[in-house]
Amino acid sequence: MSSRSLWRSLQTQTRRRLAVSETPYRCFSCTRQAQALPPKPGSEEERFTHFGFQNVPESQKESMVKTVFSSVASSYDVMNDMMSLGIHRLWKDHFVRSLNPGSSLPSRELGTTGGWNILDIAGGTGDIAFRMLDHATNINHDTATRVTIADINPDMLAEGKKRSIQTPYYNTDRLSFLEGNAQSMPSIPSNSVDLYTVVFGIRNFTDKQAALNEAFRVLKPGGVFACMEFSKVDNALFNAVYKQWSFSAIPLIGQLVAGDRESYQYLVESIEKFPSQEEFRGMIQKAGFLIPGRGFENLTGGIAAIHKGIKPLVRN
């Protein structure tokens, strides 16, 4: 509790300090401005959704999430390392290794290039995409597998594009970028994707079920939906430690390192709001996917979980 009042005071301090900058120029404090918008009293039938612990109209969540990620884009990796003590890299490596992207065996169908068509949703900075391309190339010797990075946020995409210059995939047809909303991606044809991944992104979606339905549409029959997301810790003792860390340390680190407390406050609140492993598995099932085995794999005691679903074959 004492730590809570401590952040409160820090928060008011930052507010006072940064309240001067009302310029349209995007700065670290944009989030606060977005959050400061009073919820419109307007129409009563407007549906509300949660933005962290706040309730906001659905129409606003998208732009609010956008401001959060615009403000964290530049310091994204440093912050991830600090918040997870570097463990997020292990998770991501494990995620990619378990998916084993790329075909090590030559394709049987003549005339096709083979390789997988991977869609990485909310993968703006390319973390997962580069790992998957590396895995396909180096482990499976598959140089035909291609990844499309889709993100709703142009700032995150710009960060990813900047990073892709360092990779061998820059300016090749194996890597492409797409700005779009995962709940509706008309530019991607139905039944065209082998592997759909969304890593630490789906909790920010306004309508998760719609995104899952859209994933089901774009995947080929037999294609895989794979999602890594923060989840619920199963051990009570570990959970207490973890909650303490996420609610006191992470916003503080955010303030000190990225100069942006509220984005990270949102981050931990959105983690808290995300459904449990079993509920989310139910949502995947509801979208029509087959669930392999238990359907999820807990990482580090359930801090994160990998969910998988397979689009069934069409039987006729």
Partner: protein, 305 residues
């Protein structure tokens, strides 16, 4: 990084483990035949053994009529007459198709990938099997175990006529025949079997491997007609499991015709196991006799025993 072994172990134990209460009613004569139809091979590949049932694909017919037929079962067991195993239709289809690629590609991801392609899935659909290679191995073990059972129950493997019309076989003979029969099923994947044993011996896979080994020992003893309900229930299962596991290793190095060496090895090991058992029985009887003598002696001296 935590693997959900404990939970999966539970479900699979529930499925493959025969320790659940037996059904009291014997199966109707027609029932095994129905199961046999499910287990019958739809396709064969060339193998070195004389068995016609090698590498059976228990339910390719599923693809055509998934709704009409009951849940697929790769093996028959009267312990769970109606309960299907925990593989879904799609998983069974992929695994059955993958078994065809085992002799060439081993129990590997490649075999699974090719199985996926054969079954009309994509390469990425291997994700349906969270344990990958190990799922393929377990499927092999479980389906061969089912095949062994159906051979006894439907093909009359242990009937006196099928083994030369001699006298009725003793339980020990039956156990040896069943052990050998089960080992011969592995002959077609003999070159790949060491890899499979290696995968089974990985730490995270040991519990499931052992439970499958126990299920096999249990099946063999049941089929051989062993009715013991005392402590020898455990010792016999352990003996059968130990002999089978040892012979499995020997078989992977066996180059003799018709697995002659393995057969002799099994006979020797089983004789050893019996010898140890006889010794133990002898020691126990001796101790019992000495004990009762001591008690009698004490009583004759007026002790209140």
């Amino acid at each position: 990084m935590t693997r959900p072994t404990s939970l999966l172990t539970l479900t699979r134990r529930g499925l493959f483990h025969p320790s659940t209460p037996r059904t009291a009613l014997p199966l109707a004569p027609s029932a095994p035949r129905n199961h046999l139809r499910q287990c019958q091979p739809q396709s064969q590949i060339h193998t070195t053994t004389t068995q016609p049932n090698s590498l059976t694909t228990p339910r390719l017919s599923q693809k055509t009529s998934p709704k009409l037929s009951p849940k697929p079962r790769a093996y028959h067991s009267d312990h769970h007459p109606t309960q299907p195993h925990d593989y879904t239709n799609s998983q069974t289809t992929i695994l059955s198709a993958a078994l065809h690629h085992v002799p060439t590609h081993g129990f590997s991801r490649d075999a699974l990938t090719l199985g996926c392609r054969d079954a009309g899935f994509l390469d990425v659909s291997v994700q349906l099997l969270p344990r990958a290679e190990f799922d393929l191995i377990l499927f092999w073990l479980a389906s061969r175990r089912g095949l062994l059972r159906s051979k006894v129950e439907s093909d009359g493997l242990l009937l006196p006529s099928s083994t030369g019309g001699g006298p009725v076989l003793s339980v020990d003979d039956k156990i040896q025949i069943l052990l050998m029969e089960r080992l011969r099923m592995n002959a077609e994947v003999k070159d790949q079997w060491q890899d499979a044993l290696a995968v089974m011996s990985l730490g995270e896979n040991i519990p499931l491997s052992l439970s499958e080994l126990h299920a096999l020992a249990d099946d063999i003893l049941n089929l051989a007609g062993d009715k013991s309900v005392d402590a020898s229930w455990y010792s016999k299962r352990m003996a059968v499991a130990a002999v089978y596991a040892a012979s499995d290793f020997v078989m992977t190095r066996d180059t003799s015709a018709g697995l002659r060496d393995t057969e002799e090895f099994v006979a020797r090991r089983w004789a050893d196991a019996r010898a140890v058992g006889n010794k133990l029985t002898g020691v126990r009887e001796c101790l019992g006799f000495m004990g009762s003598t001591a008690v009698g002696l004490g009583r004759s001296w007026g002790l209140k025993i």
